[in-house]
């Protein structure tokens, strides 16, 4: 029964991804028309090939990275509320990106390879620094509530530093605003390639280190007694978390709640060891963000809603529902 449920969910996620990708190519300010005229219209071809396809693929990949980061952090910190945002790592990544923008003085539309890579690197460094800062403040990951509070504090402080940077360097104000709202509109092929590479790396590493997550579910001492090298494995998982968050944030800005909701949805559907559930959460995040992106493009067409606004609305409602349902169950552990 569980095996078949896992297969069922896996297939459903693959099918949904393919279906949504096709839909993503069809939806945009010029509507379906561009698709019909594809064979003999250079402009239509450009719209589909240079704009719709990469941004749809980009939304899928960013969602996959965030879902993965969420599943890894929830397992690692043994906390169902851990998420790249609540841990402050997304704020760290955003600050890193802002610093990169100050140095480069370029708008996010400037998709030069090197600039992309530099921004991603800075976002990664910022995300990793934020996680370590939160861990230091909370004196370890054992106490769930303390860790969350530390994450919120780190997020607020780093956000304030980012605001100060924006005031000091008004040039970056506009790109950072778009960044803060979260949007896939600037994702081109280079960003897609970068996210795909990172995703392969992170998903592989998470798959390999998933046993540590399973072991940690039984408690620190038990995991250690099973002969797991917890120290290095934990560092590796934090690196995965920071790299996945940093890469996604550098390309698409701040997209809240995807990393929180995806693992929850997977867990409510199937019970599986982390080796499997981490990958399913990644697929779930991808489907969620791509669906939200298409919705954001279609709702006010030909205008466009920043997808970050939509994920925050949908994710926030989901979190409320979760709190309501969990009221009777153990919250803090």
């Amino acid at each position: 029964m569980p095996r078949s449920a896992i297969n069922w969910l896996g297939s459903a996620l693959v099918l949904a991804s393919l279906g949504l990708l096709v839909l993503g190519i069809a939806v945009g300010s010029t509507g379906l028309e561009s698709l019909w005229r594809l064979p003999h219209d250079a402009v239509a071809r450009q719209i589909v090939w240079e704009i719709r396809l990469p941004r749809s693929l980009g939304a899928w990949l960013a969602g996959a990275l965030l879902g993965l980061a969420g599943a890894v952090s929830q397992g690692l910190f043994r906390n169902p509320l851990a998420d790249p945002y609540l841990l402050g790592s997304a704020s760290g990544a955003a600050l890193g990106s802002a610093v990169a923008l100050v140095f480069a003085g370029a708008a996010p539309a400037g998709v030069l390879w090197l600039a992309r890579l530099g921004m991603t690197g800075m976002a990664f460094a910022g995300a990793a620094a934020a996680v370590f800062l939160a861990l230091m403040l909370a004196q370890g990951a054992q106490q769930g509530l303390r860790l969350l509070l530390a994450g919120v504090v780190v997020g607020v402080v780093l956000g304030a530093v980012r605001d100060a940077l924006e005031l000091r360097y008004p040039d970056i104000l506009q790109p950072m605003k778009a960044f803060g709202l979260g949007s896939t509109a600037f994702v081109g092929w280079p960003a897609c390639a970068l996210m795909l590479g990172t995703w392969l790396l992170c998903a592989g590493a998470a798959w390999g280190l998933a046993r540590a997550l399973d072991g940690l579910a039984l408690g620190e001492a038990t995991a250690a007694s099973l002969g797991l090298p917890l120290g290095p494995m934990r560092l590796g998982l934090i690196a995965v978390l920071a790299l996945a968050t940093g890469t996604a944030v550098a390309q698409t800005g701040l997209l809240a709640f995807v990393g929180l909701a995806a693992p929850h949805l997977v867990r409510s559907l199937v019970q599986a060891p982390h080796r499997i559930s981490v990958l399913l959460a990644s697929g779930m995040g991808a489907v969620l963000l791509l669906a939200a992106d298409i919705l954001a493009r279609a709702l006010l067409a030909p205008q466009e809603l920043p997808v970050g606004v939509l994920t925050a609305l949908l994710g926030g409602s989901y979190l409320l529902l979760l709190m309501y349902r969990r009221r009777s169950r153990d919250w803090s552990s």
Binding site: D214, L218, E220, A221, S225, L226, G227, Q271, A272, S333
Partner: protein, 258 residues
């Protein structure tokens, strides 16, 4: 497995310090193989800390611990995990892992890094789940089980490791009397197969059925010896300020409140 070792576990002048306070001080303990040793004493005596020290899970300020005649530090992580299984107290988060997968974690020390479970692994898991009468809910997530059911799954997890030395901290928590009896039967069976069991126990009635007792008080070992010895039982009465009495009823030693 080094059968030659005279002791399954030995702690030599072990000291543990926490926040400038000595939790354990000058503890020497020798645990013979193929026997069940129970660690007893009042609250805060350092029983769990001693057990953690024996398992190598507690950083020591002084002294050292030997497992099967070899210092713990000299064992490789995995080899040690195959020799020594640990069942902690109230550690497990309410995880969504299925009971079967939880018990399979006990097989980690036997598996290659990314290898799938072997037939032997599945057999060990099935055997352990049957031994603790937890087979029926192998498909259910740990988080959905009652306290007692969860404890039996976690015990199966420790058994599935098939380690010759088994350390358990308060293994009877949440178990009703029939399952406490089952637990003792499992321990006896384990001992008969040559295994060594060390458990921290609050239930003195159960602890008195052990082969040996380690009686602790205020971070020190007051006495260690066979339960059959009158001196051991006297130490037990003394450590609880003579507010309990140990008497024999129907051939079994029991503890009574004064």
């Amino acid at each position: 497995m080094s059968k030659a070792a005279a002791h399954a576990l030995r702690a030599a002048s072990v000291g543990v310090q926490m926040r400038q306070r000595w939790i354990l001080e000058g503890v020497d303990v020798a645990i013979p193989p193929a026997a069940w040793t129970a660690i007893v004493g009042p609250n805060g005596a350092g029983k769990s800390t001693l057990l953690r020290a024996l398992a190598g899970l507690q950083p020591l300020a002084r002294g050292h611990v030997e497992l099967l005649g070899q210092p713990l530090a000299q064992w490789s992580r995995r080899a040690r995990a195959r020799q020594l299984a640990w069942l902690g107290q109230g550690e497990a988060a309410p995880t969504d892992l299925r009971s079967y997968d939880v018990v399979m974690l006990g097989r980690l020390p036997h598996q290659g890094w990314l290898a799938a479970p072997s037939a032997a692994d599945h057999a060990a898991v099935a055997q352990a789940l049957h031994a603790t009468h937890a087979w029926a809910w192998r498909e259910r997530p740990l988080a959905q089980l009652s306290g007692g059911e969860r404890q039996r799954v976690l015990l199966a997890r420790a058994l599935a490791t098939q380690a010759p030395v088994l350390l358990m901290d308060e293994p009877l928590a949440n178990l009703d009397p029939p399952h406490q009896g089952d637990w003792m039967a499992t321990v006896r069976q384990h001992i008969a197969q040559g295994a060594t069991v060390v458990s921290v126990l609050h239930e003195l009635g159960i602890a008195l059925q052990a082969d040996r007792l380690i009686v602790m008080q205020a971070g020190r070992v007051l006495h260690q010896g066979a339960t059959a010895d009158a001196a051991t039982r006297a130490a037990l009465e003394a450590v609880f300020d003579h507010r309990i009495r140990v008497r024999q009823v129907e051939g079994k030693w029991m503890a009574f409140l004064e």
